[in-house]
């Protein structure tokens, strides 16, 4: 008399259990489809991903069309198709329009899309790595590092070009990377980098670099006169003036996105914590370094042409996580598209709302993103889950 449990029943039930892939609803009327997010998520993805892509194309077209001079969307399409060499529409537009579109608006729109994609994906990477809903791309020192870099760039008497970038953009990029490197080095004890140390070191380095920046500005009368320029950089705005810059940023961003996709299953495993991920075969320390490097490179590339644009890395991943679930294989490409769409739209609004003047992009994303984020938090009164 070993046990009163009919042990064999377990195996019988198990072998008789219908494979849910063929008949998910069979025998389980109490779990209607609406309460099965797992199935819904992939079905939604089939809709959401193409929708985001189409939305992004439309937004980019509109952003190119609108501005000081209105140029019709159909004309822009024809113009672009002609440039491919495959089509030969009759030219119904001014040559100046073509220059405006090709040399001024399109680089800016493409830059906005790249910045949005980079920041949104960097946000996903940091949130996944730190397992923290409040993680954004600027959390571990990038913002303060870029700020200090910009200040230093303003101080220098030189005006050097780096790969077609101005001194300020280059210093912002390098400052952001240097800050992250410092944070990572500070947080590394022995051969391990704990997430808590990373967050704390990020806070400390941010505070320290901001203090140094304030000190530098405070002690330098000349800089105070030009502080508006520093401030403008920090409040964000797409600043590209050539395809060359867009091209370089595009290379960095595309590499970063590819690396992020390669890290998708690592991020999924990290959702169980570092120990849990290790049990699943993840070489945690190495992957963590890769994640930080990838996310920081994406952030720094965005900072170089857009300054500090907040909220993209926070709002876009959260919104898409609610739609598609936390699986990173869907979330990462969706966030890239969503971030690009969000920022193209935001940049468009920043240009047209008080035209001919422009709003700072960072201010606009915060004004638009903040309330949206609050709506997500408080929607339908349920506990927020992300």
């Amino acid at each position: 008399m070993r046990t009163t449990q009919p042990r064999s029943s377990l195996s019988e039930q198990a072998s008789q259990a219908p494979p849910p892939s063929t008949s998910p609803e069979a025998g389980r009327p109490e779990t209607p489809l609406g309460k099965r997010p797992g199935l819904k998520r992939w079905r939604r993805a089939v809709v959401v991903l193409p929708l985001l892509l189409v939305g992004l194309c439309v937004a980019m077209l509109f952003a190119t069309a609108l501005g000081s001079v209105h140029i019709g969307a159909s004309e822009i399409l024809k113009l672009l198709l002609n440039r491919t060499g495959l089509f030969h529409f009759r030219q119904t537009w001014d040559q100046t329009d073509e220059i405006i579109i090709l040399q001024l608006r399109l680089p800016r729109v493409a830059g906005a899309a790249l910045v949005g994609a980079a920041l949104a994906v960097a946000g996903v990477l940091f949130q996944g790595l730190l397992r923290n809903p409040l993680a954004d791309p600027f959390l571990i020192g990038t913002s303060a590092g870029a700020g200090l870099g910009i200040t230093v760039a303003f101080l220098l008497p030189t005006s050097v070009l780096f790969l077609g970038f101005g001194q300020i953009a280059a210093f912002a990029f390098l400052g952001a990377l240097a800050a992250v490197a410092l944070v990572y080095w500070l947080a590394r004890v022995g051969r391990r980098t704990s997430v808590i140390s990373l967050l704390l070191a990020g806070v400390v380095v941010t505070a320290l670099m901001s203090a140094i920046q304030t000190l530098v500005v405070d002690l330098n009368a000349d800089l105070q006169l030009r502080f508006r320029s520093v401030f403008a950089w920090q409040s964000g705005g797409i600043a590209v003036d050539s395809w060359n810059q867009v091209g370089i940023v595009a290379v960095v961003v595309v590499l970063g996105l590819a690396a992020a996709m390669g890290l998708a299953s690592t991020l999924n495993a990290l959702a169980l914590g570092e120990e849990g991920a290790a049990y699943l075969g993840v070489h945690v320390e190495r992957q963590k370094a890769l994640l930080i490097a990838g996310a920081s490179l994406l952030t720094a590339a965005a900072v170089a042409i857009a300054g500090l644009v907040g909220f993209v890395g926070l709002v876009v991943p959260h919104a898409l996580r609610l739609l598609l679930g936390p699986g990173h294989r869907l979330l990462l490409p969706a966030s890239a598209l969503g971030g690009a769409l969000f920022l193209v739209a935001a940049d468009l609004l920043a240009r047209v709302i008080i035209a001919p003047a422009q709003l700072p992009l960072g201010v606009l994303t915060a004004l638009a993103g903040g309330p949206f984020f609050l709506y997500l938090l408080r929607r339908s009164g349920q506990d927020y889950r992300w």
């Binding site: 494979p19 849910p20 797992g38 199935l39 397992r131 070489h283 679930g325 889950r385």
Partner: protein, 465 residues
């Protein structure tokens, strides 16, 4: 196919400079189901982490399926070994299906797409743990019992050879405890899955695990439930009196804690198993031993064979003599691992010396931490307690005269800069008995004890009118 699937080979580990366990050996054969028992904080979970390769031993090796864990990439480890942690949390709203799918991580290609074999493994894992009905639910919204089954499903989706579980029944109610262990037993029996699980519930461990390992900064006992679950051993390791026996009508061992107000458990519910050493009170120790580091091993076995009840101490928990004394000694005075003998512990030794009829000093290493024991022994000898010094390598006469060459061997194990040796000199001046091996020590002891008994008998008869 390697039959010895998981081997701990002389593993030493500590989180700080102080080791948690030293030179531990443990081997799991393919298809075994082993329960790991022991008090909190004595290294059970650490042992699991060493087996999973998330901690590296300071010395020694862990072998998995014939590979040194240090040389095996994490992905290769995860294909052979899965871990079900005690608690399992994620901040993300993963569905059960997605979470169980994570178990395929070590099998995925670079792009991370699920192949039919992956889907099949996930489906099987869901079916065998009966979590397929939960597949679409959000993991964080499940009950603890369901979560534990999902965690197990995820581990099974890894298709491992070895499954490590940290307290698989800790957060479960009785029903889920039973169904979890039934399931593990079935996986072990039907699929040949090798299982190593830490357990707090000794009764469930006795019922489900054919092999148990009792762990307290080292392996104290390793064998079948009958061999490991001995009341004296458990009482000492867990520091509460317990009784082991078979409940009327049951087929497996049961362990009962003490009843309030009783020093020893009552016998009302247990039919004490034949051959179990569960007969309190303990025999009163006749002789006290000083040992450590294995120096008292042969003597303890000899005394136990001869049926002479003895006490020993103070010994550090985790010491090899300590592990043996847990089983053999009538009384054992313990000190925390790797710490010097505390004044309170020394007081216990002194009290014991006042009650026994003889003392034996084994050739243990003398350090500043245990020097106090020599002082106590010297003190007791001065007050007339018969003393035997066990010192291999000395030449002794049959009646235990002063061993020549004793000073030299003492000096070789004295790490106090001469203080220990000086105490031995003082002891020798009191003309103790010296034995060169354990058998001689026991002969000398019995001679002394019978002489004392005779003298005592004589004096008491004289006192009568």
């Amino acid at each position: 196919m390697v039959t010895k699937l998981l081997i701990f080979e002389g593993v030493t580990f500590g989180y700080t400079n102080r080791p948690l366990f030293v030179e531990t050996h443990l081997t799991l054969a393919r298809g075994e189901m082993v329960g790991l028992l022991g008090p909190n904080g004595t290294g059970k979970t650490t042992l699991l982490r060493l087996a999973a390769g998330t901690l590296q031993p300071r010395q020694g090796n862990v072998w998995l399926d014939g590979h040194d864990l240090r040389a095996l990439p994490r992905r290769e480890i995860a294909r052979r070994l899965a871990v079900v942690p005690q608690q399992f949390t994620t901040p993300f709203a993963f569905t059960v299906r997605e979470l169980v799918g994570l178990g395929r991580t070590p099998h995925l290609s670079f792009l991370g797409t699920e192949r039919p074999s992956d889907r099949q493994a996930i489906q099987q894992a869901l079916a065998v743990t009966q979590t397929d009905a939960l597949a679409g639910r959000i993991f964080n919204e499940l009950s603890d019992g369901e979560k534990q089954r999902v965690a197990l499903a995820m581990a099974l989706a890894q298709q491992p050879d070895v499954l490590l579980l940290d307290e698989p029944t800790a957060h479960l109610d009785l029903k889920y405890q039973i169904s979890m262990l039934d399931l593990l037993q079935r996986l072990n029996r039907e699929q040949g899955l090798t299982i190593l699980a830490t357990m707090h519930d000794l009764n469930l461990a006795a019922r489900y695990f054919p092999r148990l390992v009792l762990f307290q900064q080292g392996i104290v006992a390793d064998g079948s439930p009958v061999e490991v679950l001995q009341s004296r051993l458990l009482s000492r390791v867990y520091e509460v009196p317990v009784e082991v026996g078979i409940l009327r009508g049951a087929t497996h061992l049961s362990i009962l804690p003490p009843q309030a107000g009783h020093d020893t458990p009552s016998h009302t519910m247990l039919d004490v198993q034949e051959g179990e050493d569960t007969k309190p009170p303990e025999p009163y120790p006749l002789v006290h031993l000083f040992g450590g580091g294995g120096s008292a091993e042969v003597l303890m076995r000899g005394l136990a064979d001869a049926g002479i009840p003895f006490s020993i101490g103070a010994l550090n928990i985790g010491d090899s003599d300590h592990a043996l004394a847990l089983r053999l000694a009538a009384d054992l005075i313990s000190e925390q691992p790797y710490t010097p003998i505390a004044p309170g512990t020394a007081g216990q030794v002194q009290q014991r010396l006042n009650q026994v009829q003889a003392q034996i000093l084994c050739p243990f290493f003398i350090g500043l931490g245990n020097l106090v024991l020599l002082r106590l022994a010297l003190d007791a000898a001065r007050h007339g307690l018969p003393t035997v010094i066990l010192e291999p390598g000395t030449k002794t006469t049959e009646n235990g005269g002063e061993g020549s060459g004793l000073s030299a061997t003492v000096a070789s194990r004295d790490y106090t800069g001469g203080e220990g040796a000086a105490l031995y000199e003082e002891l020798l001046a009191l003309h103790p008995l010296v034995a060169s091996d354990a058998a001689q020590a026991i002969r000398l002891l019995t001679k002394t004890l019978s002489a004392r008994a005779a003298r005592k008998g004589a004096t008491s008869s004289e006192a009568l009118p």
